[in-house]
Symmetry: C2
Subunit: 142 residues, 2 copies
Amino acid sequence: MAARDFHHDTVKTALIKDGWIITDDPLILKIGTRNVLVDLGAEKLIAAERGAAKVAVEVKTFISPSLVNELEKAWGQFFLYNRILKKQDPLRQIYLAVERNVFETFFQEEVGQLLLEEPGFRLLVFDAKIEEIIQWKPQINS
Amino acid sequence: MAARDFHHDTVKTALIKDGWIITDDPLILKIGTRNVLVDLGAEKLIAAERGAAKVAVEVKTFISPSLVNELEKAWGQFFLYNRILKKQDPLRQIYLAVERNVFETFFQEEVGQLLLEEPGFRLLVFDAKIEEIIQWKPQINS
């Protein structure tokens, strides 16, 4: 199983353990005539609900040799999807999901901190071994 | 000559015609221990000055089969570089440079408009045939 798919399923399991109901997998975003998530290799969004809270979760593995490249891609995707959701599904909040090891290493570096400091950015940290969510930044209310 | 290099030189010529002095080509951004622009295939930033105005110009060709993919990449790169410049060279403004045809087609679509509407985004439109800058959005003061 590819690392990408593995983490996708891990995050789904972690969300379910955390009391979420998976409503769409993948969540398809369309804008104008373009289907935003058709690209080969694009990570697929997971849509989930818990009580009144609705999220779209984008899982990123950060396994490429160029972590800065992956950061740029994650940055652009997060804010593009965020903008589309604001127009089409304004109550749904998008979160970027990264594994604990990635959060504790790359996201503690200065370059990773830049994304964490970007207004409107939201991160979900999961542990792949125990398949659980460690934290939501910012905390989610539901 | 690759399309990427071609447009890079075109934009340099257009800037010079517009009264700018090229000060760095490429402009190297470093953050923490990482050199942000070492990635193979990454477009290189052009640094230029005119009077008191300082810009960093990122040229994007939008020739990939997946324009949405290119948009995501451009989006992430623009705002990552923007954040680095805010810390390291706060008077320098970054602009994304796109060819007139790209501006008049893809950027008029709903998905392209999303980036144009993003707060803090700055675009430079050039004409590759006449090698001139058509517009700065927002207008640059110098």
